[in-house]
Each structure stands twice: as structure tokens, then as C-alpha cells.
């Protein structure tokens, strides 16, 4: 494109610093919001007012903020569950199934201790809660390992396996909680029994302790990838499996390992949503809502390009927008699905802007090429 004697051209980037990626992503978010204003205008809503409502509710409202934070914890764990295998070049699409397995395992611990819905009964929480956390991770690992092992040993496509396991786990949850299932609510209703109050996860200002685990794991993961032998082996395998095998890194081990670690975090996400978020404390009839939400974890992982620290703001943004978007739809009486549309536009814009990770726009003075001297 020409403007006078200047020309706008694209130049390939040699390197991309962390702050540049952050600036580009921020611009992408701004651009997406501008773009989506058109939809608000078309729906006869004032975009400024709409965005104000969304962000107010998501990040400043005493009812909205805890919801946002709980979604954020969940999404961050799911994003990390996706990030670990993707750094080894493997796609974990099975956070849904893994978190169901995690939830079932946590409830199995309750079942073993005879918790069956008497809300006021006293149980030793300091023993049972840690057991539930550990069980949720282990249960998810069992499901995740299947995909990792099949991939590593027999080169069975991990996307298909994790996807299919999602279905299996979905129906297993159904079997366990619906009428006649072992985890059935004594009152029926197609949901699981509820936690006793003494087993609610410890809260700090309405936020469960799982926030510490999620943030801790994200930071830990960053360190593992940057500094440790294990992280190096995973990254080497992800970049070039043949070269990694040449260097003595076993593909089978890496495949199993990344799915074990990833699934463990997905399992924790399952514990978080079904046993730690205030107001839930059971596997509800609509448990597929949480399962579907896990897919946003994939998006967060992709947008943050496998960087667990970058996943923190991304997960927070998506946690807030899923929440505020739904709220504004009700408040301004907008059409159904406007919250999903907003997320969709945002995702596409973020991904499209990654073009600028590889290219930069430069302004060249074409006169300079023929110097006067």
C-alpha cells in the first residue's frame, strides 16, 4: 500500500519478545470488542453501555466476580491440561472426560466414607478433602493415560482417543448419578448426592483454595518448561520427535507422561467445579455445562501459545466474558446466544492477530532508495 512516497509493507519478524506478544494480544482484544460493537448496534444496544455492564459484572460486581474467578480457576487448569501435551506436540481434547473422571473419583471418596447427602453431618474434612483432591487427579490420570499409552506405543491418534473417552465418561457420569446409580441423590432428580457442609472446600473471601493450586501449577509449569530436564525433553519431543529419539528421549515415556500430568490437572478442574465452587457441591443434572466449558481451556491454551503464564490473563478474560456476556444478555434483553457470539468473535480475532507474531508492518520511505548524492 502506498501513501505518498511511503510504502506500507509486511516484514517477517526474526524474534518476538514476550511484551510484543502481549501488546499484540491486547490490541486483538480491543479490535474484537470494536468489531463486536456492530452486533450490539444492530441489536439496538449502546455498545459502550453493554461493555460497561459486561466488565462491571464480570470483574467488579460482588455477585459476578466470584463467578468469574471460579470460571477462571477452572479454565486455567483446563488450559494447563491442554498445554502440557501440546508442548510435546500432542493434542489433549479429553479434558472433558478427564474432569468427569476426576469428579467421579472425588465423589467415590465421599461414597467410601458414607457421605450420602445428609448436609449437616460432621465429617473429618481435613482428611477427606485432601483425599478428594488426590483421588480426582488420580482418577483423571487413569483416563488420560489410555490416550498417552496408545499414542506412544501404537501411534493411535490421541485426538480420536481422547474425544471418544469424553463420550464414555459422559455416559459413565450419567450412569453413576441418575436414578439407580450409586451416587444418586436420595431425592432422585437425576443428580448426585450433595456434599456435607463440613466437606465444603475452604474459602477465602468466597474463593476456594483451588485458586492457589491453579496459579501455583501454572507458575510451576512455566518453570518446568524453562529450566528442567523434564521440560526440555518434552519440548524437544514436541519440536522434533525424530531428533528427540536420536538424543535418547523415549517417545512412549513422553507421550504417557504428558497425558498423566495433563489429565491430573483436568481432574483437579473436575474437583474444583463439582466440589469446591460455592453453590454447586454436587454433580448437577446439567453437568455437561462444565464439560463443554472445558473446551474453552483448549482455546485459552492455543491463544497463549503453550505458555502457562500467558494462560493466566487469557483464562481470566474468558472466565469474565463467559460470565459478563450471559449477564448482559439478560440485563439488556438481547437475543439468545449473543454471549457465545462475543466469545467467538474474540477467539477468531485473537487467532487472526497471531499473524502479527510472525510479521510486522513497516513504513518504508521509497525515496530513500535513490539517494541524492
Amino acid at each position: 500500500m502506498r501513501i505518498g512516497s511511503y510504502e506500507l509493507t509486511l516484514k517477517k519478524r526474526e524474534t518476538l519478545a514476550g511484551w510484543q506478544a502481549a501488546v499484540i494480544s491486547t490490541l486483538a482484544v480491543v479490535f474484537a470488542l470494536l468489531l463486536f460493537s456492530l452486533v450490539f448496534v444492530q441489536a439496538e444496544a449502546n455498545p459502550l453501555e453493554a461493555y460497561k455492564e459486561i466488565f462491571d459484572y464480570a470483574f467488579f460486581n460482588p455477585f459476578g466476580l466470584p463467578l468469574t474467578i471460579n470460571r477462571f480457576i477452572f479454565l486455567l487448569l483446563c488450559a494447563c491440561a491442554f498445554i502440557i501435551p501440546i508442548r510435546a506436540g500432542l493434542w489433549n481434547i479429553g479434558m472433558t472426560g478427564q474432569l468427569y473422571a476426576g469428579a467421579l473419583s472425588a465423589f467415590a471418596v465421599l461414597f467410601a466414607f458414607g457421605v450420602k447427602g445428609a448436609k449437616s453431618a460432621e465429617y473429618p474434612g481435613e482428611l477427606i478433602i485432601p483425599l478428594m483432591v488426590v483421588a480426582s487427579m488420580l482418577g483423571a490420570v487413569v483416563v488420560g493415560t489410555i490416550a498417552g499409552y496408545l499414542k506412544g506405543k501404537y501411534n493411535v491418534n490421541e485426538i480420536v482417543v481422547t474425544m471418544m473417552l469424553n463420550f464414555i465418561m459422559f455416559w459413565l457420569v450419567s450412569f453413576m448419578i441418575k436414578d439407580g446409580g450409586p451416587f444418586m441423590n436420595p431425592g432422585g432428580r437425576g443428580e448426585s448426592f450433595e456434599l456435607a457442609k463440613s466437606l465444603y472446600a475452604p474459602l477465602y473471601k468466597d474463593v476456594p483454595f483451588t485458586v492457589v493450586l491453579a496459579l501455583g501449577f501454572a507458575l510451576l509449569l512455566y518453570w518446568v518448561f524453562a529450566k528442567t530436564k523434564l521440560g526440555y525433553q518434552i519440548r524437544a519431543y514436541g519440536q522434533n520427535p525424530t531428533a528427540a529419539e536420536y538424543a535418547g528421549i523415549s517417545g512412549v515415556k513422553i507421550s504417557v507422561l504428558v497425558f498423566v500430568l495433563g489429565a491430573a490437572l483436568a481432574g483437579l478442574a473436575g474437583y474444583h467445579y463439582f466440589a469446591a465452587v460455592p453453590g454447586v457441591y454436587k454433580i448437577a443434572r446439567s453437568y455437561n455445562f462444565q464439560g463443554d466449558l472445558a473446551f474453552y481451556g483448549i482455546i485459552c491454551g492455543l491463544i497463549s501459545q503453550g505458555n502457562p503464564i500467558a494462560a493466566i490473563p487469557v483464562a481470566l478474560l474468558f472466565g469474565g466474558l463467559t460470565n459478563g456476556g450471559r449477564f448482559v444478555q439478560g440485563k439488556l434483553k438481547l437475543g439468545f446466544g449473543i454471549d457465545y457470539a462475543l466469545l467467538g468473535v474474540l477467539m477468531i480475532t485473537l487467532v487472526a492477530f497471531q499473524f502479527f507474531y510472525r510479521y510486522q508492518v513497516v513504513l518504508v520511505n521509497t525515496r530513500k532508495e535513490t539517494p541524492d548524492e
Partner: protein
């Protein structure tokens, strides 16, 4: 087409004062070049001398910053290779750009403007047959490309350019993937084509004998400048090498005498399958001692790759035994073999030997991450690793801005130096060097051979795999020609005759019977 009316001896393509700058380098600095119809004018230069840039300018992939291209007496500007093709300039890339599942004919007419939407295969076949008869190409036009050899693929690329009406043929490293016999065939074809008034411009980094054999004139590039233009009849291999590198080059590495020590690697009755499930290594037995270079001579695809992979622990053996320093390592993992003292320099530097997106530090880590010294308690010691990287960059004279540079930005020769440095700095007991100088320029080849010779002097055993008979014969203490997975004989390096090794490599038995 401008070049339709030319006669033998007319200048068909001319470059005047071509300059092309990239950030930080002047890749081409006022380069003049010309070629006449019926002439073979080779362009010679080391990696990084500016050959690729010049080639891309001649073919319209780059536009020069300064200077002019003149085709058939008229100044032209190429916006894209399509303009170059339309004016009669054809390009044969080093890496073949053919569709393996299609036939030769289909590949030749692919992208041809006359192919249109409905294929007239019959007419195309007639025309192409006539064309290949004219230049004496022997090629089955109906064979699928995956079935034909590298040499034949090269001819297909040439035919493709000719069928598009090329009068000037640019050949990028034309013999780099060819066996000696295929090279002969290609050289013959080049002669025929130049006799038919085509202008041919081969770009060559190494293999000076080929330049001497086929070209009429040579232009030597060094650091983006023309250092000499000379009639080939007045040049020698030595003079060309000196001009390319800028100093005297010793072609033959001096074979150092080293006392033969303990056996290091013993291979007993070893067999292995290829990826396709065919026997690739067939009951091989040999022993490598300390201070010895054991050279396996053979054309690629005769089981060398599989043999090396079995020794390195990357492929399961079918039967037989591998012993390292008296210890049976047949069942050991590749990691255990690295730790036991095997150092493997793979033939494929890009897909096996390095990780393109990783920095040089992290590439060096590939052979060090498992050492206690560099990974205490599971965390990697990047500071120590950076020091080692700097040492290796220094000692192996790797041309790079620094240890943080990615491997993919290095040239082939520099990447090989990094890999060589990485493996040899471990002071391995056994060095496996698979095609160590393949594709390297003269200077780098000399360097690699000297380093292997040093390893031998330090009492390592070296397993050298090479297609280059000169390399094998000048370096090895023992020469073992292979043919279809069988070791055809083990000859003492100093006494081995070139003809004998060549015959054994081709699967012929020697009169007296091989030992």
C-alpha cells in the same frame, strides 16, 4: 520468446552489476555474469558466498537492489519466476519438486500453460518422447515418480524445464543426491544439451571434479563478490578451491598412524529389517578397535542407515549381537548407549541431528541433558551449557551471531560443525559418522575430516559411512564395501584399490574372493 532466434555463441543471459542486500549482509556485490548459447558456465562458491541469492535473482524469485538483467540483448525485470520461465529460463532445484504419486508425464505437464483443463496426455507424451530422444535421456515416461531413482528424477526436472521451452537451464547442486553412476549419466546429458545450443548454468558448492569435467567457463564467488572468471581448461581443482576458500586447501587428510588398541565395537552376525520390512542388514560381522577408522563404502540404501540405527539403539535388530567395550549392549536403549560412550553423527542434520526452533545451547543439550554435570536434581544448568556452547563455537569455528541463535538459521556446514562439536566434545569411545561431509563445501569438508582424524588419534574408534570413495580411501584404516546389506569384504585401507572397492560396492565378487 526472446530467445527463439538465438544462434550458438550468442549471449543469452547477462547480469550486470547485480547487488542485493539483506539486513546485515551484502549477499551479492556488483556481480557480473554472462552465458552464451551452447555453453556450460559453472558458478562456484562456498555456502554463504551468495550463490543462492544470485540464482534466485536470475530466476526471478528476488529482485536485485541494483544492476540489470539482460535476456537476448534486452534489459528485463522479473516480477516472479513466471516471467523468467516465459523468457526461456528454466530452473532445476536441488530438492526435487515432483509429485511422487504421479507419473513422469503428469509431473512434466503439471503447471504447463498448454495443459489447460483437459489433459491431452497422448500429444504430450509424443512431444516429450521426442524431446528426450533429442537429448538422449533414457526415462520411462509412464513410471510413477516414487518408483524412479534420484538421477531419473533430476532428468524429469530437466525435461520439465525443457518442455516449458527453456533455453537457459539453471541447475542447483545438480549432482548432490546422485550416485557415481547417475552422475556420469547426468554429465553426459549436460554435454548433449550444450551441443544442442542450450545454455547451462550449474551452481556448485563442492565436487570440483564435476566442474572441471563439464563446464566451459567458471565464475568463482566468495563473500558475495566475483573473485575470478576463468576458462575451465585453465583451472585446476587446487586453484579453484583456493579461490573459493581464500586459502590453500589440503584435499587429502593425512592418515595418521595410531597404534591399534583394544576392540571397542564388535558386531556379530547382525541382521535388521528396513522400515518396509525387507532385510536391510544381512548377517554383518566386524570389529572396530581403538584408534581405528572403519569405513563402510557403499551407495546409500544398501543398509548403512539401518546398521547405524541398530548400533545407536534406534532400531531393533533381527538377530545378532552388538558389544561395546566387552559389554553386550544389544538390548540397551539409545540413552544407555550414549552414556556408555557411543557418539552418533547422523546423516540427516536437519530432521535427526538438530531441532530447528531451538537455540544452539538447547541443541547442544541434546547430548548433554542426561549428564549429572549439567542436570543436577532435574534442573538444567544453562550457565554451564552456555559456556560449553561458546567453547564449541570457538573450537569448531562455527559462524554464528551467538549461542542464542536458532539452529535453523545456520547453514549446512555450520550446523554440521555444531553437531560434530556436540558429539566429539563428549569424547565418545565410538564415533559413528554417517555421511559426515555430505553437502558441505570444501573448507567445511576438510574441517570435518580433520576432526574425525583427531578423534581417532585420541584413541576413539570411528565408524565412517560414506558414498564418497575418496573420503573412504583417504581416511579409513579398514574399508568395508557394502552391497544390499552384505559386507562384501574388509580391505586394509592403505592397500585397498579404488577399482576393487568400486566393484565390491556394485555387488561384484573379486577374482581372488574377498576376505
Amino acid at each position: 520468446m526472446l530467445l527463439d532466434e538465438i544462434k550458438r555463441g550468442d549471449t543469452v543471459l547477462e547480469a550486470q552489476g547485480i547487488t542485493k542486500r539483506f539486513p546485515g549482509v551484502v549477499a551479492n556485490d556488483k556481480i557480473d555474469f554472462e552465458i552464451n548459447a551452447g555453453e556450460v558456465h559453472a558458478i562456484l562458491g562456498e555456502n554463504g558466498a551468495g550463490k543462492t541469492t544470485l540464482m534466485n535473482i536470475l530466476f526471478g524469485l528476488y529482485q536485485p537492489d541494483e544492476g540489470e538483467l539482460i535476456v537476448g540483448g534486452k534489459a528485463v525485470k522479473f516480477k516472479s519466476p513466471l516471467d523468467a520461465i516465459d523468457l526461456g529460463i528454466g530452473m532445476v532445484h536441488q530438492h526435487r519438486k515432483l509429485v511422487p504419486a504421479h507419473t513422469v508425464i503428469e509431473n512434466i505437464i503439471l503447471g504447463h500453460p498448454r495443459a489447460g483443463t483437459i489433459l491431452n496426455l497422448k500429444r504430450a507424451e509424443e512431444e516429450i518422447t521426442a524431446l528426450s530422444r533429442k537429448y538422449g535421456f533414457k526415462i520411462d515416461l509412464r513410471a510413477k515418480v516414487w518408483q524412479i531413482s534420484e538421477g531419473e528424477k533430476q532428468l524429469v526436472e530437466i525435461l520439465k524445464a525443457l518442455y516449458r521451452g527453456a533455453k537457459v537451464l539453471i541447475l542447483d547442486e545438480p549432482t548432490s543426491a546422485l550416485t557415481p553412476i547417475e552422475t556420469e549419466v547426468l554429465m553426459e546429458s549436460i554435454k548433449t544439451m550444450s551441443n544442442e545450443d542450450l545454455a547451462i548454468v550449474p551452481f556448485i558448492t563442492h565436487k570440483l571434479p564435476i566442474v572441471l569435467a563439464i563446464s566451459d567457463r567458471v565464475t568463482v564467488l566468495r563473500r558475495g563478490k566475483v573473485v575470478n572468471r576463468i576458462k575451465t581448461s585453465e583451472a585446476t581443482e587446487r586453484s579453484l578451491a583456493r579461490e573459493m576458500v581464500g586459502r590453500e586447501v589440503i584435499f587429502r587428510v593425512e592418515r595418521k598412524k595410531v597404534e591399534r588398541g583394544q576392540p571397542i565395537l564388535e558386531i556379530e552376525n547382525l541382521s535388521a529389517l528396513s522400515d518396509k520390512g525387507v532385510t536391510a542388514v544381512d548377517k554383518m560381522s566386524f570389529t572396530i578397535h581403538e584408534g581405528e577408522i572403519f569405513g563402510i563404502a557403499g551407495i546409500s540404501g544398501n543398509g548403512q542407515r539401518e546398521l547405524v540405527e541398530v548400533i545407536a539403539g534406534l532400531r531393533k535388530e533381527l538377530e545378532g549381537k552388538v558389544t561395546l567395550d566387552g559389554r553386550d549392549i544389544t538390548q540397551a536403549s539409545s540413552l544407555e548407549r550414549w552414556q556408555a560412550g557411543i557418539g552418533y553423527i547422523p546423516a540427516d542434520r536437519i530432521d535427526v541431528g538438530s531441532i530447528g526452533e531451538f537455540s544452539l545451547i538447547e541443541n547442544l543439550m541434546m547430548n548433554y541433558y542426561f549428564d549429572e554435570e549439567f542436570s543436577r536434581g532435574g534442573t538444567l544448568d544453562y550457565r554451564k551449557m552456555r559456556e560449553l556452547t561458546n567453547e564449541i563455537i570457538e573450537e569448531f569455528s562455527v559462524a554464528t551471531p551467538g549461542p542464542e541463535t536458532t539452529a535453523k538459521s545456520l547453514s549446512g556446514g555450520n550446523l554440521q560443525k555444531v553437531i560434530l562439536g556436540r558429539v566429539l566434545s563428549r569424547k565418545p569411545r565410538l564415533v559413528i559418522a554417517d555421511l559426515p561431509s555430505q553437502g558441505l563445501d570444501v573448507g567445511a569438508t576438510e574441517f570435518v575430516r580433520n576432526k574425525l582424524m583427531e578423534a581417532k588419534q585420541e584413541k576413539a574408534g570411528v565408524l565412517l559411512i560414506s558414498e564418497d570413495l575418496d573420503e573412504i580411501l583417504s581416511m579409513s584404516d579398514w574399508v568395508a564395501p557394502v552391497y544390499e546389506g552384505v559386507i562384501m569384504g574388509i580391505l586394509p585401507g592403505e592397500a585397498a584399490k579404488r577399482e576393487d572397492v568400486g566393484a565390491l560396492m556394485a555387488g561384484l565378487e573379486l577374482g581372488g574372493g574377498a576376505s
